[in-house]
Every structure is written in C-alpha cells, then in structure tokens.
C-alpha cells in the first residue's frame, strides 16, 4: 500500500469500518510512514471538530401548531379527491332511475338490484385500483 492508497483508506475509515484486510494493510503502512500518521491525526482532529461544531438543531415546540394553523387556512379541496367516487355513484343512481322508469318490473325490485350491482361494481373497481397501486 502506498501513501495515496493509505490516505484514501484513512478517509474511508471515517465513513464506516474498513475491511479486516484493508485495516491490516493500513496498520502496516502507518507503522512505517510518519506522513500518513500525521494525516490520520489531522483527520481525527478534524472529525472531532466537525462533530462538535455541527450540532443538530431541533424544531421549535410550536412547529406543529404553526403548521396546523397554516393548513387550516388552506382550502382543503376534498371535493376534487372524492369527485371520481361521487361521479360514479351519481351515474349509477341516474342509471337505476332510468331503469325504474323504462323497465316493466316493480320499482322496488329494480332499485334493490341496481343498488346491489352498484355496490359490487364499486367494490370491484376499488379492489382493482388498490391492486394496481401495489404494482
């Protein structure tokens, strides 16, 4: 291992543990190279200074409350998210009413069958949507 490799390994050692083989080779290089030992000491001092200087700040205790206040001021726009469902159910209701008017069967039977078909098809499309989302 030459000095360039040794210094690369020294730099690497601050990101995570070196492999046993790299560690052994580095140790043997350092035993004979005061320049790389000095570079290693400098990196150690630098690491310590960086650790002490870069402190993780904390969010202020009022962060969540302030965010909630800002969210509450926003128009939620839920209508947009639910629009496909509302449109689906409204179209189903309109189709059932047409069937009640046009088909020569008792209205209550048409209503029940229409409601059942709507419920089954709605569940099926929800299931399909959920499965597609997992792909």
């Amino acid at each position: 291992m030459d000095c360039q490799d040794a210094q690369e390994k020294l730099l690497e050692s601050f990101d995570g543990a070196l492999s046993p083989d790299d560690s052994r080779q580095l140790k043997s290089h350092l035993a004979a190279c005061p320049n790389c030992v000095e570079f290693g000491e400098l990196l150690k001092a630098l690491d310590l200074q960086l650790k002490e200087s870069i402190m993780a700040p904390r969010l202020s205790p009022g962060f969540r409350a302030a965010l909630k206040a800002r969210i509450d001021r926003q128009p939620r726009g839920l209508w947009t998210h639910w629009l496909p469902d509302v449109a689906y159910l409204a179209a189903s209701a309109a189709a059932i009413l047409w069937c009640v008017v046009l088909l020569p069967f008792p209205a209550s039977a048409v209503l029940w069958i229409g409601a059942l078909i709507t419920a089954v098809s709605y569940s099926f499309q929800a299931l399909l949507f959920s499965s597609l989302g997992e792909l």
Partner: protein, 170 residues
Amino acid sequence: MMEDEDVTGLLRSRRYDGAFGLLLDRYQEKVFRLAFSMLKEAGRAEEVTQDIFLKVWEALPSYDGRAAPSTWLYTIARNACLSAVRRESYRRTVPLEGCGERPGRETLSPRAEIKQLLERLPRVQREVITLFYLEDKSVQDVAQMLDLPQGTVKSHLHRARRALADMMRS
C-alpha cells in the same frame, strides 16, 4: 419490501390525515435537518420545513405510489430548499464597507473557525458533510435525503475532508 407501507396504504384508501400524521412523525426532524444543511440558519430552515409540509399536504392526493413516500417527500423538500437558497442569494446584499474582510484567525473560536472553513467548500461538499454529521454519520441516510448514490456521497465526503485538512494545515 417498500418502506412506509402503512403510509402508502393510508394514501391508497385516501386517509390523508393519517398518512400526513405518520409522515410528520417520521420525517419532520430529518426534513428540518436537510433544510438546515442547505440554508445554514435554523429559523429559516424551520420556515422552509413548514412550507415543505404544507406542499406535501396539498400534494398528498396526487401521490401516485411510484416512489416510496420518503423519496417523494425528500424530492419536494430538496426542491423547496433549492428555491429558498436561490431566493436568499438574490435577496442577500453585500455591504460595501469592509467587503471581503475576514476576522483575524486568532479571534475565532475553534467552532467558528471550522464553520468558516466549511463556508469555503463547494456547496455540494458542504451540504453533504454537514448532513453527514447531522445524521449521525449515516452515509445511507445522506444518500437517501440528497438522492445521490452512496459512492457519490462518500466521494464528496473524502474531497471535503481532504480540502478541510489542507485548509487546517495552511
């Protein structure tokens, strides 16, 4: 297995409040630290973190599940931070008097000195090394937050350390 599956499940069933609560619990501090590493000022970073989560709240219905929620969230966060950095750089005014003067090295504490050295690094190296120490020296977390390969993060860290070591020696 994809991370944050519970969040994805809630989003799929359009339970946005629940999903948003989980995202806040898990990522508010990380997003704040990401903002801090880019903006360098805690107060400003907190404001931008609020903006980010407001954007996330508004965008939740359009989350399409192609990326993990954390990846999606960090993308929004990085873009918001970059916009904020650009705005700050336009707004910043340079005083004419004393322009370019630096306080004498002997007047600085070691902490102030290292901060001054960090300022002299290229932006990406400074952000990577700052985030590395903020994230408890996790290359994996830094890579995820900045959407960089781990090898690239390590290479920025090595360059930053070498440059800082050279500055300390000189």
